[in-house]
Every structure is written in structure tokens, then in C-alpha cells.
Symmetry: D2
Subunit: 436 residues, 4 copies
């Protein structure tokens, strides 16, 4: 019963905190708030941080409902502007159609720690958006503002290496999302002289990497991931560096999801490496294909791939079966199955053909596309090479039946490639063309 | 004749550059520009910097005309939103009512040097706005964006002292707008241990101070400027510091005019000094009154000042004459005139009464107000004290008949004071009340 | 046979390298070397680094023999100086009695990397000194020079924390000599907000910590080490800090053995903490007693301890047996043995009496003294408290039968304490006096 | 009379301070001082700084007399060492023949600020050495220690430019000794992009440049100084840089006179520029000849120059007269005199011949040599070219009759050149050979 009382008391206290927070918002939006947003902003942040998630949802709902534009004012301003496109009419239109919560966020953002608070707000919001679709208006505003504030022009690119603060390196271990970092020894290898790591930082979040990319400097475009992340491998020497391989790119801030940073980071890194090591001529990824197995599973008709070549249809169907077996992720079972089959080059080619088809045709689709493929192709990279048995980790087998892919960045071509991609064409190398 | 040909050739080349610049804008706004704004952005900046001012005006006109919202689309979106306030309708409304040039500026801003270019654009624009009022729409967009990007939360406050780079100090000499800095020796005195100087910087303009404030640490609130800026004066010691006097605040970036920074800077400096030197209890300005003489000149009826006190009216009228004589700026003539008159305390009080009335009543007016008074009072400061013969420099006599004023910053009261000011009330000290 | 040939070839090559190195020394000492020591110095360092250890010994022997003062010149200069103490005679005396190898080392030290080379040289020398006592003259010179160059006035003290470079932190893990650091998680706990770590650096060896000390900020002087180095323990808050405990001090450079740094480091850290956290009034160690068990083993006569108190003699003898059992390092055996005995306070006191006697009487002895005790007592600390069962680690039991000790640093008293210690008196707290 | 009393009181106070200082020295040398030199060192420094110059002399005399080696001990140790060259005997010899004041200085040097104090001590000492030759023993010790502590290996070279702290730049203006810097505008030109300035710093004196060199980057070896230091001259662009001209080198610390730094600085700068700007192939000075006019004045017999060429003797004698007229420093008188004479090439050559002879023959002499010539030639530079009318400033005419000289640094040859110079040979270019 005592517990019950405590719960009641805690709830009452939270309700009071929510009320105080809403009051802070009102004050911050008033003339009082205009004069001295820092004090009120600090208080608002403190109240915000004390609220549990369910109260935050109430807070978000309030922002979504009570800080929206007034439809009547908007309509009147639109009519005036339609009648005459004067500066005054346009200014008024802008003012009344911008949701007032944008100004609220800008005022919070003036406070020390305000940027971090808003990023944290959006993280919580995104986590709850599916369950609360009515909060989408809030999400639209936050994405708009954060995209402006985290404009790549405001981001600072820093090299991360073994001389970086432990506090920062710890975050790489935590956030690496593609090929997990297995402790400090693994990390040290990934920061050895034949590796590079770069991250974007924002001046307002000085100790927080926003996104980072890991690069291997190697003699050739690699076909498999295991040697690249082998922590026992001896580092290469500078004269052996011919290609820079982007083998992992990870976001560290869930609250910045959807704010474009990765595409700028890759290009800035390529330019920086080009200056630092002119002997490097090739900039390329070694990427996973996270959507391949799922697509294969759901695909039964390969006619758009084999076209009228009858025999090919059968082989593709067989290749699908082999691949799906691989996707079960059991490496030894796969090995023995393959030993029995003793795959012929033709059979291997059929498997790669399926993968090429997936990447070349599905990546332009609006739904069901491989997200990594979409990212790099939209970014202007070229579909360079399909790698059979490129990733034999459990995850690699499960997601992509062991396949990996290289996307090539030719800085002279990225604009043209992107433009083609926008119009539905995937630029690819000859080797890939042969498979299509 | 050769010269004529050269001019023709130069004009043709400039016309081509303008055309190229407009084409850059189009490309930057296309999908191509989305992918790789840096390359195109660099090119755009290069073209921009080659244009002479008249072509820039043409460019601005193009931005003002061709990158505005479509009135029909706006109206349709407003009607939809009036019918139903869905997230989709709101998003669409936002999209179509935001002038596309805002996105253009955001893309330019992604380029290294983009921020500086946009600030420079606005500087040119502001210089030409009076002659080209149709460019106001462009100015509205630029002020909106720059206010968001130069949000005080993104500004870094740095102490400037004699250990700062010469390159930076040179800019203080150049931009000091209130009490001119007379070379490096004068500057050294202003950065001596009993002085402080703080500036705001933006991460994208690392070597450019945006605004700076000069502070004197003294035993009492000073009544005259000359001793504060006397380069021969010996520095005081730490135990003598009781009050921090903000005696000059100057903007360095004409392209950021109207972006609020000074109010935040003063408060941040006060907080910083409060932490560093807890013995300092008073934060106060010693400010010019640039609009006083002009107002006095144009004012003939003092009834709202003297009310029903008949005799006072005469004295005010006489005080006005004395003051206007001072505003002629001839110090020795003034001295001999005053010697003849041998001013009584009552006469002095009458002069100060006029000044108090100006500051207390005119500062809330929307036009004709003293800009310095408006700045500090709106910022939450208190009208503290009128200083007779506070500034005997030619400029001080001319603008303000030698008067100066202190505005006091009590960080506990600035919010309440600002609120009162917004509602038409000027908070003032008892000494001032006695004059009103 | 091929291997044999290879060995012959390698030996020949090494012999040539040794010869080249000796030639470098001659050139560096000539006028040629005076002008441009950097080039020759670089070459000398390169040759040096290629030599195997046995050739280095030959090199050292050469330096010890051929770069010594000429006895006849020394005698002549001494006679002149005895006759007349003129500046010229003294200068000459200094010149001829200084071994020329000192100038050689000074010239090597002008070269970038020279300091590191000389420190490395001494490391190798020290390792071989016991086997080659004739090299003692060389060691005397190196210690003399390095003591001058690593003068505490030239050392920079830096705080080391979780924001320090991983490259540096790695060296703490490697060199911690007192209580081993068990990986990065353990290290992170030792750098948590209630811990401090400081190291000395030399400008010529910027990435190399020379010596570091670990400090725990706690409410009371601790009696046992385990809680201090428990990586699971939750950090204390600032208001709980009353005492700073130096619980580990480790040298990182074997080539700087015997160069006094630790005593200066402890005092500089105490001063720094005193400024930063004025609430801390107590600066104290929690130290091991590495020589206790060995001393106990070899001691049979306790008369100088028990004096004429007959009964005490018996108890001390019994205490010795119990302690030596503990020193076997088997914690569970010890526990069961003690359970059987169920030690009385008197028995415990007898054990502590033995330990006190060891520290108070043996530390002033020139040989057989506990090195840690000598270090802190010579440094001016006070023998503060004996801690029974303070270190139950295998090493702690083996070396010191589980005993630990606190030495207290009272910065006002360290000079006087040191002076007494030099004259054979160990300053101790009352609690210790009661045991003596 | 009151003044008399005051003087007596002050003198008494100073005598007490001197006594206290001597007592500090004794304590610092005792065991007490060994333990905690910082506290005592601080006190010693404070006492030292309060003493007037005459008391400092007394203090120096005390150090010179009472802290010298004991002649009997020295003789005994020398005899032992002569008998047997053991490590023990050598160590003892070293200990007793080193003046104890060296250990005193080392202990002072452990104190924060100790290095600066010792450098200041030597500055005062050098100023008084001529009047107090008995202090030479002290000077020998200080030079020995400071040469070891300011070893070039311990010095940090920093680029100085317009982004350097004003506090530092101010010191360049103050210390430039060759071609005076005429205020901040002049300084700014000397730090423009076609100029370089580098200084040596010591970690213990972080804000104090020790020595700095000014370099001009130009297309050719210049023959005159005026264009190089013309503050109105427009900066050249990077592609025009072919030669780096060291046109001024200045010491900032009188207390470090005689500690070799300039030779190392020039070579380090040449290496750094060679790396940064590989197109620069020539490293050369444009130097004054401060001793030329004085030498010419005192020289009447030119037979060693003209040898047996009779006519030459006459011409040299005439050239001497013309040159000495120039050395009167009156530029317009000189111009009109020269106009009357309308100098023939032969006459000019005769003047240059005299200058070449001075530099080539006198620079190796132990006394009367040109100090700048000795510095560069001993440093391994080559006598490259004599420049007639190279410096028409009053100082240039007076010291060197307007002559200037280039010394060329060929980093591949400096060692060999230095060696030849030590053996009496001045390496010179063909053009100079033709004049000799």
C-alpha cells in the first residue's frame, strides 16, 4: 500500500513537471522569453529532462496541437499574396504559415545545451512516431530545423586515430553498426597506419561524433570483408596504398536520423585522402546488401531477369535455392552442401546475376529497395562489382547469402551518376553489365 | 577608342558571368545540385565574386522575382489546410510558401566559404536596398536564415587580450565604432589587466569577430568617458574592481545587421565576469545618447515635461539653448559661454531633466527613439543615471550636448524590465525619477 | 652451412657498424662536429640503433676507456689551482677533469631524437652494468647529465584522464608497477571523477609519460587497497572528498632510473589538488611494504624491539610465525589457520609491532631498508599508520604478509621531517609510537 | 635629514635582504634544501629580486669566493686518479672539482621561475664583469650550465607571423638589432606572405623569444637592403620565390649571450623552408659589415693586399679615402663628392677589393675580426659577394662605408667549410676570388 501511495505521489509530481514545462514554453514564446531566453531555456531543459517517456508524449501532443499555424490567418495571407505578390504579403504569409513551435525550438537552441536537448527530443519522438502518427507535424518541423543547423557547411570533419581521446574512441566501439568492433585491440587495428577514420562534429556538440566512416588503404579493390577487419593482420606500408576502401559508415545520433551527412562525409574524406596520398586513384566501398535475402525469399518470378533465355530461368531458380540455404547462416552446413554440389562457374554466375538484378533494378524502386544501395547510388557512386562469398559472418549470410558489393566513387562522375539515378538509371561497371 | 572597346569587352564578359551565375543557381537547385552541392557551390561563389555591383543588383532582382512562391500553389495549399489540418497539408503548405531561394541559400551554405559569401551578399544588398525597395523580399529571407544560423547558441564567446593574434586585434582597431581606437598603443591600454574585451565568433568564420564589447573594471560607476579611454592612465589592481563598465560595443559585420547578438553578448560577459571576479557587484554601461541633440533641435513644446509647473517651462527652454550651444562642438567657446553664465545647480538640473525626459519617454516610441537607449532598455537594463558633461569630445558634444548615460544590468531583473519596456514602461533609478 | 655463412656476414656487418659508430663519435667531437652536429648526430643515432646488444657493450667500453680525462693533465691543473685559485686555473681544471664523453653526449643531445637515444643508451647500460662493472664511469656521466636535463624545473606535469589520447593511456596500462591495471575497463575506473592521475613529461619526449601517480579522493585514510582498485565500485561525489590518497606511483622509463622525479611529482600533485579542492586536508599514501617478509625471515633476535619486556619477546616470536605463514600467499589456508587461532587483539598488536619496528628502524639503514619506506620518509613524509590485512593479494601476502602502511604528507612539515630522517630519525604518528 | 634617515633605513633593509639571500643559499645546499627545493627556491628568488645592483655584486662575490672547489681536496683527488683511474676516483674527482655553486644553480632551477632568475642573474653579471673581473669564475659556471640547458635539442622553433600574439610581436619590435622595426605597420610588412620569421623558444620561458631570424623570399640574391625593408613594397607571389635571404638575426636575451643558438636556428630554418618550398634553391644572407670602417681607419699599409702590383697600391689608397668619406654618413655630401669624381669601374673595384680583403683575411684573426663575418664563416657559410652601396642608411655608411656582403649557406658544404675556417681558410665564391 505504501508503494501505491508512492506511485500516486510520483505521478502527481510528474504531472506538475509537465505543467511547468508547458508554462516554460509559453513564457519562452512571450516577450519575457525574447529578452532572456537563456534563463528560461535552462529551466525548460531541466523540466524536460525530469519527465518520463509517457509525459513526454503528452508534451509532444501539446506542441503538435497548440503550436500550429492558424488556418484562417494562413488562408487570409494566401489570398492577399495571390492578389498581390508584395514583400509585405510574402513576409506575412511566411510568418503565419510557419508553425510557432519552430520559433520555440530556435529559442531553446539559444540556451547552452539547447541543441543537445532538441536532438534528444527528436530521438524520443522518432521512437514513438509509429504509435503516435499524429506527431508527424512535430517531426516535420524538427527535421527541417535540424537539417538547417546540421548543414554540412557547419560540420567539422576530424581525423580519428589512436591519439584521439579515449572518451571519443569509446563511442566508436559503441556505435559501429556495420562490422562490430570487438574491444580496444580491434579498435587499435582499425586505427593503424593503413587505416583511416573520419568523423563529423558539430560545434555545439563538441565531444559527440555525429557520423564516422572507416577506410582501409589497400593495393586492390577487396572482394571480402574478413581480411579487412582481421585484428591480427599486419599493417601495410604507404607504398602499397593504391585504393581507399570505405568499409563501414555509422551514425552515432539517432536524433539526427534523416539529416543528410553521410554523403558529404564520404566525399570530403575522398578529397582529403586524394590530397594527402596522391598515389591513391580508386575510392570505393565494400558494402553489405542487407535487403538481398529478404527480397529473394519473396521473389518467385525471374522473367524480368532471364528474359527469353529459357535455360537461364531454371538456373536462376536453382541459384535461389542455394542462396537461401546460405542465408540460414550455418557456415559448416553450407560448406558441406556446396562440397556436394561442387558449384560450377555457371552456377556461381547465376547467383551473382540474381544479386546484380536486385541491386540494379530494385535500388531505384521507392519501396523494398536495398537501403545501402540506394544511399550510395543516389549519392552518385557506380555499381562496380558483386562479390560472391564476400561476407561469411552469420549476419552476412543471413542478410545477403554471403554476397557483398563494391560501389565506386569517381568524384568527376558523381553528379552525372546521381542525375541518372534520379531518372531511374543505375550506372554500373562492365562486369556488372555482363551479369544483367 | 581602344578604351571604349575594352569597356565593351568587359561589359560583355560581366554579362556572361551573370548568366553563368544564374545557371549555377538553376543547377544547384536541380537534382544534380542535390548530390554534389560543393562543386557547384564553389563555382557559384567564384562567379559571384567576379561580378561588379550593378550586375549583383540584376542577380538579386532575379532571385527576388524568379525564386518566389507560386501564389496559386500557396492558395490551394492554404485552402486544403483550412479544410483539414493534417500533417500532409501542413507540410505542403510549408513547402510551397517558403521561397525557393531559401533552399538555394542553404545549398550555397554547404560549400566551404558559403557562409561568408552569403554574409557578403547581404552586405551588398543592404547597401542597395533603399534604392531598390523591390529587393526587400530577398532581405527578409536572408535575415530569416542568418538569424537561424547565427543563433547565439552557435556563437562562441572568446576573450580578446594582448595575447590574441595581431590579425584579430587589427580588426578591433578597424571596427570600433563608439570611441575610436587610436593605434596599437591605445589598443594595448584597452586590453590591460583592468580592462576586458570579449567577442562573438562563428565556427564558419573563425578569424572574424562578429561583435565585441569593451569593459572597464573600476571602483565606481563612472560619469565621464575620457578617463576610461585615457591611454596614459595607470591600470588599477584587482582589489579595486567593484564595477564592470560596458563602455563600447561594436559590430564588425555589416552583412549581419539586425541579427541579434549584442544583447546576448552583454549578458554572457556579465555572467562570465561574475564567475571570474565575484567581488564585482555592478554591471553597467557608460553610453552615448546619439539622438539627443537632434531631438532637442526639433522639440519646441516641453509641456509634457514640465506639466503644470510654470517656472520649470522657462528654465527648460533656457536649458535647451545652452545645450544646443554645446552641440556646436566647440569646446573652448562652450567653456567661455558657461563661464559667463556660471551655471547654477538648478540650471544644470534643467538640462539633465530634458535629457531624462528624452530617454524615458522617447525610447519607447517606435520612431525617433535613441537607438542606444532602445537597445539597452529593450534588453532589460535600467535607466540608471544621466551624466552632465560626460563626453566632451566633438562627437559627444554634437550628438548629445556632452551628455552621457548609464544603463544598469541587474541580471535578476532584466526579464521583468524587458517585459515592462515592451508594454511602454521605462524602468529607472530613483535619481532619474527625481528629474522626471 | 648457409646459416653459418649468413651469421659470419651479419657479424661482419655489425663489426663495420660499430666501427662507423666510433668514427661518428670522433667526427662529432672534432671541429666538423661542432659546426653541424645535427647531420652527424642523425647518422650516429642511425648506426647506434642498428647495433645488437653485444656490440653496444663494446661501444660502451670504448666510451669508458677512450673518452676519460687524462690523469696527467688533471694532476697538472690541480697543482696549478692549488697554487693559485684563479679563474683561469679553475676553468682549466674543470675542462680537463670533465670526461670528454660528457661533451659527446651533449652534442648527440642537440640532434632531434638525441635525448631519446641517450635515455635508451642508459637503459641498455643499466641492464648490463652488473656484468660489466667497468662501465660504472659511463653510468656516472649519464646519470649526471640526465639529472641536469630532467631537472624537475624542465618537466611538465599533466593531468591524465579519460579524455587523454588512447596512445598515452595504453602506456599507463603497460607501466603500472604497483597494482596492475587489468585492461581498459579497469583503467576507466581509475580515471573516474573520484580519481586523479598525473604524469611528468619532458618537452623532448612529448608522447612519453616519465612517471605517473594515481590518486583516490576519499572520505578517510583507507586501511586496505582492495576497495580502492575495485573496478565495480561506484564513484564518490565531490562533497565526499576529504583525503587524497596516493596509492600507486610508477616509473615508465628504465633509462631514467635514479633521476629524482617521484618526490617532486607527489608534492606538485598535492599542491595542485590543494588549490583545486580546498576541502581536502589530508594527503597520504597507501603503500606496500615490499621488504617486510624478507626481513622477517632473516631476523631471529627481537631484543631490540621488545627490550626488557620478557613476555613480549615470546609474543613477537609467535607473531613472526603467523606472519610468515601469511607470506606463503595462500589466502584460504591463511583464513582457516587464523580461524583456528582466533587471533586476540594482543596477537594482532604483536604483528603490527614487528612491522612498525621494521619500518621505523630499518628504513634509515643504508642496506636492507624497505625501498618504498626510504622513498617516502626521505621525501619528508611521516610514518602514519600500519594496516593489518591491508593487501590480501598474492603479492601483498608474499612480500608483506598482508601488511600495508600509510605515509602522510604534511607540506608544512616535509622539510623538517626530511632533515630529521637524514640524521637518522623517523618521524611517526602517535599510533605508531604506541607500537614501538 | 629625514631623507638621510630614510636612506640609512633602506640600506639596512637591503643588507638584511642580502644576508637572508645568502642564508637561503646555505639552506638550499643543505639536506633540507634537497628535500623541498621549491619552497626555499621561491623564497630565494623573492629575496634576489628585491636586491639593488650593488648588493647583487656583493652576492656574486660571495658565490665566487665561498662556493668554489677546495684546492686541497682537488689535489688529493687528482693524485688518486693519477695513481689509479678507477670509477670511484673519477667520480670523486668530478665531485670535488665542480664548484658547488653549480649544484646551487641546479637547485634554483628546479623552482618555477628558476630558469628566468638565473638568466636574469647572468644578465646583471655580464653588465658588471668588466668592472669586477674577479667574477669571471661565476660567469664560467653560468655559461657552462646555460649552454647545457639551452642546448638546441631543447629549443623549439616556431614560425612567427601576423597571427602570432601581439605580446610576442611587440618583442620583435623591441629586440630587432640589425635593421630597426619602425612600428606595427613596418612589422606587418616583415610578416607578409613573401617574408618569414622564425624564433627559438625554451619550454621554461614560454612567452620569451630567445633569438629570431627574418627571411625574405625573393627571385635573386639581393645587393641592397633598402628594397627588402621597404614597408610600402608590394608582396611577391609564391611562384617568384627562388632564394631565401636571411637579412636580420637578433638575440632577445642578454643573459644568454655566448650560448650558441643562431647557427642552429639558421640551419633549422633553411631545412624547414627547403621542405615547405622546394623551388627555393638558394639560402643566403644579406649582412652588414660592422667592423669595416674602423679597420680601414686603422690600416695604412695595403701591401698584403696589392702584393707586388705597384699601381694597385695607389688605387687602394685612393679607394680608402673615398670610403672613409662615405663613412661620415652624410648621404648628400657623398653623392656630390662622387658626382665630381664620377667613379670608374676600376675605382669601384678597388673599394670592393679592400672590403674583400678585410672579410677574407681579418675574419680568421682572433681579434679585430668582423663579428658578423666570423659568425657566418665559422658557421660554414661561404663568402659569396661584396655589395657596393648596399646600405645607404646612416648606420650602414658609418660602419661599413655603405658596403654589404652575402654569405651563402650550402647545407651540403657547411661542415667542410667550417673545418677549413677552423684551419684558417675562408671559402669564397669566384667573384670574390677575382678581387683578392
Amino acid at each position: 500500500m505504501l508503494d501505491g501511495l508512492k506511485t500516486v505521489a510520483r505521478k502527481a509530481s510528474q504531472t506538475r513537471a509537465l505543467k511547468a514545462l508547458l508554462e516554460d514554453c509559453n513564457v519562452l514564446m512571450s516577450e519575457r522569453g525574447e529578452a532572456n531566453s537563456v534563463t528560461i531555456g535552462n529551466q525548460l531543459i531541466a523540466h524536460f529532462e525530469r519527465l518520463p517517456e509517457d509525459k513526454l508524449i503528452s508534451f509532444f501532443e501539446h506542441l503538435a496541437n497548440d503550436f500550429s499555424p492558424d488556418p484562417k490567418e494562413v488562408l487570409a495571407a494566401a489570398q492577399d499574396y495571390a492578389t498581390q505578390q508584395s514583400a509585405g504579403h510574402l513576409k506575412r504569409l511566411m510568418q503565419v504559415s510557419e508553425p510557432p513551435r519552430q520559433e520555440l525550438f530556435r529559442r531553446i537552441n539559444r540556451t547552452p545545451g539547447g541543441t543537445a536537448t532538441i536532438v534528444g527530443m527528436r530521438r524520443t519522438l522518432l521512437r514513438n512516431l509509429r504509435a503516435h502518427p499524429e506527431l508527424q507535424v512535430l517531426e516535420d518541423d524538427l527535421l527541417h530545423l535540424l537539417s538547417s543547423w546540421f548543414n554540412p557547411g557547419f560540420l567539422e570533419m576530424q581525423k580519428v586515430d589512436w591519439g584521439s581521446p579515449a572518451r571519443l574512441l569509446e563511442k566508436l566501439i559503441e556505435h559501429e553498426a556495420v562490422h562490430e568492433i570487438d574491444g580496444w585491440d580491434d579498435l587499435r587495428r582499425r586505427l593503424a597506419p593503413d587505416r583511416r577514420c573520419f568523423a563529423f562534429f558539430h560545434p555545439q556538440l563538441p565531444d559527440e561524433p555525429l557520423i564516422f566512416v572507416e577506410v582501409a588503404l589497400v593495393p586492390d579493390i577487396p572482394a571480402a570483408i574478413a581480411p579487412l577487419i582481421d585484428k591480427k593482420s599486419p599493417p601495410l606500408t604507404t607504398d602499397q596504398f593504391k585504393a581507399a576502401i570505405f568499409y563501414s559508415i555509422s551514425n552515432c545520433q539517432p536524433g539526427l536520423r534523416g539529416v543528410s551527412m553521410g554523403n558529404f562525409l564520404i566525399k570530403r574524406v575522398a578529397e582529403q585522402l586524394h590530397r594527402e596520398l596522391p598515389q591513391i586513384k580508386t575510392f570505393c566501398t565494400l558494402s553489405p546488401i542487407p535487403g538481398f535475402a529478404a527480397w529473394l525469399q519473396g521473389t518467385t518470378d525471374f522473367r524480368h531477369i532471364h528474359g527469353k533465355k529459357r535455360g537461364l530461368g531454371l538456373r536462376l531458380s536453382e541459384a535461389k535455392d542455394v542462396l537461401l540455404e546460405a542465408s540460414k547462416g550455418d557456415l559448416s552446413a553450407l560448406a558441406s552442401a556446396n562440397a556436394q554440389r561442387s558449384l560450377t562457374p555457371v552456377q556461381v554466375a547465376a547467383q551473382m546475376r540474381l544479386c546484380s538484378a536486385y541491386l540494379a533494378h530494385q535500388s531505384v524502386a521507392t519501396s523494398g529497395a536495398d537501403p545501402v544501395a540506394r544511399f550510395h547510388l543516389d549519392n552518385g557512386a557506380r555499381l562496380e562489382r558483386i562479390n560472391f562469398l564476400g561476407d561469411l559472418s552469420r549476419k552476412g549470410l543471413k542478410q545477403a547469402c554471403g554476397m557483398m558489393v563494391n560501389y565506386l566513387y569517381d568524384l568527376q562522375q558523381v553528379e552525372a551518376n546521381h542525375e541518372k539515378f534520379v531518372h531511374g538509371e543505375v550506372v554500373h561497371a562492365r562486369g556488372v553489365a555482363a551479369l544483367l
